[in-house]
């Protein structure tokens, strides 16, 4: 078991493994998303309250979920890199950040578009989830800015890992404080939790989309880590040998 992890953490091994794995995640991911889009747009019934506008949740919910998942991946792999000094782990954190920020932005954009017919405004400060998501986007910006500001990669890795870990604690506090805050101002949350059970015809496409987005995210992450590994190891022999070898990449 330990040998397996040790091997996994070795950059050349991971580089090759990720290349094999990435399409195997992408293919079912795209298939699931295709089903989800079709079923979500055409098969699922109209919501009796929100009309067709509700269909944006098929993008919004998976993005919002991945925005947090990516932050967790970033923080956990940063922490692992910090404690056990695994370089690959830092590369994963570095690769996850822009992806997470992109999904956060997508969640914000879809949330705002959904808000237009629902609330009559593009942005509703009273909604706790949108506000938390916005703060999460700022946390991503801070993380990426810190990485960009430090020239030395090893130092940037460790410093940003500390920031990500502090950020994780903060995300929890943000969540609860924003919830409290919006309850003060009669937040008009329409997407309540514990509401009436969803019609299976609505639910299955959503589950498919969540799973599809996750697989696609995994595939993209692997691709980004590959690039990151290649850049970080550009001085090493295995990279040179690989590039000079007749098969090329």
């Amino acid at each position: 078991m330990w040998k397996f992890f040790h091997q996994l953490a070795s950059p050349p091994h991971f580089y090759r493994l990720a290349a094999v794995l990435s399409p195997w995640l992408a293919a079912p991911g795209i298939a699931l998303i295709a089903y989800g889009v079709y079923a979500g747009l055409f098969l699922a019934p109209m919501d009796y309250q929100q009309g067709d506008a509700f269909r944006i949740i098929y993008v919004h919910v998976p993005s919002a979920y991945l925005s947090m998942m990516a932050y967790m991946i970033m923080a956990v792999s940063g922490g692992i890199g910090l404690i056990w000094r695994i370089k690959l782990s830092h590369a994963v954190a570095a690769a996850a950040a822009p992806l997470g920020a992109a999904f956060t932005f997508l969640a914000l954009a879809t949330g705002s578009i959904w808000g237009r017919p629902m609330w009559g405004t593009w942005w509703e400060w009273g909604d706790p989830r949108l506000t938390s998501e916005l703060i999460l986007l700022f946390l991503y910006f801070g993380y990426m800015a810190l990485r960009a500001a430090i020239d030395d990669t090893a130092k940037a890795d460790k410093a940003s890992a500390v920031l990500a870990l502090v950020g994780v604690v903060n995300v929890v506090i943000v969540h609860y404080s924003v919830e409290w805050w919006s309850s003060l101002h009669q937040g008009q949350t329409l997407m309540k939790k514990g509401g009436p059970a969803m019609d299976p015809a609505m639910l299955y496409p959503l589950l498919a989309m969540i799973l599809g987005f996750t697989l696609l995210f995994g595939s993209l992450l692997l691709r980004r880590v590959r690039t990151e590994v290649l850049f970080r190891e550009r001085r090493t022999r295995w990279v040179r040998e690989m590039i000079l070898s007749p098969e090329g990449s």
Binding site: F138, L139, A149, I150, V174, S177, W181
Partner: protein, 232 residues
């Protein structure tokens, strides 16, 4: 040469010495303490100028404006927390001292709060009165500012430690700290608003207190780790 029976100075001695030294430095350079205070007062002046002097509006926006101004003033003062120590090499000396680094970081943060947070708390009533805040609410505001600035100093020390020695660290520091500071602002300002509206406001006080205690127990470790990383 080494006398095995002689002990290193205790951690309390290290804690007190770092705090005392920074207070002494602040005493010798009062500008560093006063500038953020002037900034605080000026930001509080900007709002009536921008939105008009109507009493109703000022009363309504007072808690929020005071809190935003306090947050920005704290940010302004954070840069010097480790900056000058980095430049003259005394940060390196702290890193090789036989005292635990989190304790020294806590000592420095305590001095920072005493020279930035506490003066803000003490000056805030004057500005609150110009915003027509009733006296009963001023007390609540001072309490929230006390608890909040403690948390801000501690969170800020992490950011300051992460950005120490970087070019253009000031802008970056704000970018790192503001999202972390948002819950503090949210809790603080809304608690004061609740008090102003004669509502129950104790939840916010408890939450701010819990946040302050949590950061007091965790932030020094993060700051110490960040200092070691920044100075590699």
């Amino acid at each position: 040469m080494t006398d095995a029976h002689k002990e290193q100075p205790s951690i309390f001695s290290g804690l007190a010495a770092t705090a005392r030294r920074d207070l002494l430095l602040a005493w010798k350079r009062p500008g560093d303490v006063l500038n953020p205070l002037f900034f605080f007062a000026m930001v509080c002046t900007l709002f009536p100028l921008a939105v008009g002097p109507s009493a109703e509006q000022l009363e309504f926006s007072g808690p929020g404006v005071l809190w935003v101004a306090a947050l920005l003033a704290t940010l302004l003062s954070l840069n010097s927390l480790f900056g000058s120590d980095f430049e003259d090499g005394s940060l390196d000396q702290l890193l090789v001292s036989p005292q635990p680094l989190p304790v020294l970081a806590l000592g420095k943060t305590a001095a920072h709060w005493l020279t930035s947070g506490l003066p803000l708390v003490l000056v805030s009533p004057i500005l609150a009165i110009t915003y027509r805040m009733p006296m009963s609410v001023v007390g609540v505001m001072m309490l929230t500012l006390t608890l909040g600035t403690i948390t801000l100093s501690l969170l800020g020390s992490i950011g300051a430690a992460l950005t120490v020695g970087l070019h253009r660290g000031t802008a970056l520091l704000s970018l790192l700290i503001l999202p972390l500071a948002m819950p503090v602002l949210l809790l603080g300002a809304n608690t004061v608003s609740l008090a102003a509206g004669n509502d129950v406001y104790t939840t916010g006080i408890w939450a701010l207190g819990a946040y302050a205690i949590a950061s007091l127990s965790l932030a020094p470790y993060a700051t110490a780790a960040a200092l070691r990383i920044s100075n590699e």
